[in-house]
């Protein structure tokens, strides 16, 4: 058992850290205020090859696998969780559906432009009446010659306002239900009947734009069926396995940033004639934060290595998502407490980090859904 990162992985971490220090962190507060995805950063990331970290080399990506991609998301999330969500979503649930289930022609058509950042990806599953109960989706697809006609609404679609390539899940046979009756489609934003709806206004990750997408008799060529016909739900679940693990890596980045800020503040802030860091109660907080971070880091990279080795990791991915979203929430909450009044002020980054982290317990499957996934698996296959 060797827990060392490879030299390549260390090099990517160092490079992304430089990118975050120079381009992302200094802009994070302004991006939060502007509530817009910063395309200067996205374009710079694209120039540096960072829009295809997770994508295979044969399609212009840098083929860093799951461990490399988790490193990438972790580092980006330290600097600006909103921008990290936009870039991370593009590569994980955005492009990964095509990597996982695309035909060679679909991969050739879409992945090189996505790896180069020329086309941005998104994933549209959630609907007004189908959130945690994803099987209840109502968007339909009906056959019309060489096309499928999509009708319905998807909501809270990350990258939706500007995405060029969206994986859309639609009911193709109501009688068959989720398993057999739902199909995934690759939908381009230029297809007739594709409408970008109202942009969402969010509590946090405001550098990541999301919106409603409306399919009004949207014409999709039949060759854009993604994966097996009727097996769209499987495509969604396989993609979410990766999405949940990388989301956990984002939680880890946020928690590490919170600890770093806390150590700085507690070392510099004097009360009762000495730095806060010398107060035993403060040290207890810092120790617990460090222990939590170590636990998160251990489980994420163990799971990512399992995935890279071709092992099944659905349960572990759900565990990472559940544990890391809950734990980083606690770590960041403690960081706000350690900052006192300053931590509640807009001028301090920890206030934004606190708002940014709250979504992690909700999107890509709520904590409650993760518990359901884990419990079902444990009951079916046993514990450890």
């Amino acid at each position: 058992m060797d827990f060392k990162f490879t030299e390549e992985q260390e090099a990517i971490r160092e490079m992304v850290r430089d990118f975050v220090d120079q381009e992302m962190r200094p802009r994070a507060q302004a991006i939060d205020e502007e509530e817009k995805t910063d395309f200067n950063i996205i374009n710079k990331a694209a120039e540096l090859g960072l829009m295809g970290v997770s994508l295979p080399e044969e399609y212009g990506g840098i083929g860093q696998g799951k461990v490399g991609f988790c490193i990438f998301v972790e580092e980006m999330s330290k600097g600006c969780a909103g921008t990290a969500t936009a870039i991370g979503c593009h590569q994980s649930i955005g492009a990964m559906t095509i990597v996982v289930d695309g035909t060679p022609e679909q991969k050739q058509k879409y992945l090189p432009d996505m790896a180069a950042g020329k086309k941005i990806g998104a994933f549209a599953l959630t609907e007004p009446n189908a959130g945690s109960d994803a099987a209840a989706i109502q968007t339909t697809a009906t056959k019309d010659g060489d096309y499928w006609i999509l009708n319905g609404r998807k909501q809270w679609v990350t990258n939706g306002p500007f995405a060029n390539v969206v994986t859309v899940f639609a009911v193709t046979d109501k009688g068959l239900g989720a398993h057999g009756g739902v199909t995934a489609f690759i939908v381009e934003n230029t297809f007739p009947g594709y409408v970008v709806g109202t942009k969402d206004h969010k509590m946090g990750i405001r550098g990541s734009e999301s919106c409603e997408l409306i399919f009004d008799n949207c014409k999709v060529p039949k060759e854009n069926i993604l994966g097996q016909f009727g097996a769209g739900f499987l495509t969604a679940m396989r993609t979410l396995d990766m999405g949940r693990m990388t989301l956990a890596a984002g939680c880890l980045g946020g928690a590490k940033e919170a600890l770093k800020l806390s150590v700085k503040h507690c070392s510099e802030r004097f009360q009762f004639g000495k730095p806060l860091a010398e107060q035993p109660v403060v040290q207890q907080y810092l120790a617990q934060m460090a222990a939590d971070i170590y636990s998160m880091e251990s489980m994420i990279y163990r799971t990512a290595a399992m995935a890279d080795n071709g092992q099944k990791y659905s349960r572990e991915s759900a565990i990472c998502k559940l544990f890391c979203s809950e734990t980083s929430g606690r770590v960041i909450d403690t960081a706000v407490q350690l900052h006192g009044g300053l931590g509640y002020m807009r001028e301090h980054p920890i206030e934004r980090i606190y708002r940014d982290c709250r979504i992690n317990r909700i999107f890509e499957g709520t904590s409650e859904i993760q518990k359901l996934v884990i419990a079902r698996d444990v009951l079916k296959k046993g514990g450890y």
Partner: protein, 233 residues
């Protein structure tokens, strides 16, 4: 145009100490690329794109030195060379003699070298001697601590900073230039190049190939003797 960039691997300045009892230097962390050399790489990368220069990198020292050459590939180097030697790091006479020999050999292999670029200095010994001494060994004109460099045909226009003033020199090529960190802001290397760098070949050179026998570096022949190292008060 052919440019050879000289790179040095140095102890991380934040990870170095002097033993108070033994008076010896010790290093705690991994060695890094000399921070000043990032600016040299940036200048070479710019010359590659503006002047279509053949961008060659050279570093000398024991095996881990290969790591800094990967950085050169990430900046777009066409070929990297590693001169494998274990000379005393404080002996810049010996280092300069060995590196000059390697530059001559590379010129034979790849064609005439127009410009040798080196960093302003390094935090290892802080002598800032090696560049100038290589120029002397190779009988090249030199411009040191250059903040701006322009190429006009076979001539270089080198701007040096001197006591708040700018001094502009015209230097015929081939020449040696050491680069002041104010010259540029090093780029973040492209991730694709960074990963490909791990797969690129680094050519190995040995002192014997350069025609340098151990006598060339024997005590007394290099004019440097380290008498004592001690911790600052």
């Amino acid at each position: 145009m052919r440019v050879i960039v000289l790179l040095k691997q140095v102890p991380d300045p934040g990870q170095i100490g002097v033993s108070r009892t033994k008076g010896t230097l010790f290093e705690k962390g991994k060695r890094i690329l000399n921070p000043a050399d990032e600016h040299v790489l940036e200048l070479a990368a710019e010359l590659k794109s503006k002047e279509q220069a053949d961008f060659v990198a050279l570093a000398s020292g024991p095996e881990p030195v290969v790591e800094v050459l990967r950085r050169a590939y990430a900046f777009g180097a066409d070929q990297c060379y590693h001169l494998v030697e274990e000379l005393d790091e404080g002996d810049h006479f010996a280092k300069a003699r060995a590196l000059a020999g390697a530059i001559r050999l590379i010129a034979k292999e790849r064609g005439e070298v127009d410009l040798v670029l080196a960093g302003k200095g390094s935090p290892a010994w802080g002598a800032g001697q090696t560049g100038a001494r290589i120029a002397a060994e190779l009988e090249l004109p030199q411009a040191l601590w250059v903040a701006k460099l322009r190429v006009h045909g076979r001539e270089l226009e080198a701007t040096q900073l001197a006591g708040g003033e700018e001094q502009v020199r015209r230097v015929p090529m081939p020449a040696l230039v050491t680069v002041d960190p104010s010259a540029n802001k090093p780029r973040i290397p492209n991730a694709l190049l960074l990963m490909k760098a791990f797969k690129r070949e680094v050519k190995k050179l040995g002192l014997e190939e350069l025609g340098l026998t151990p006598d060339a570096f024997a005590a007394g022949s290099t004019q440097v003797r380290i008498v004592r190292t001690y911790a600052p008060d």
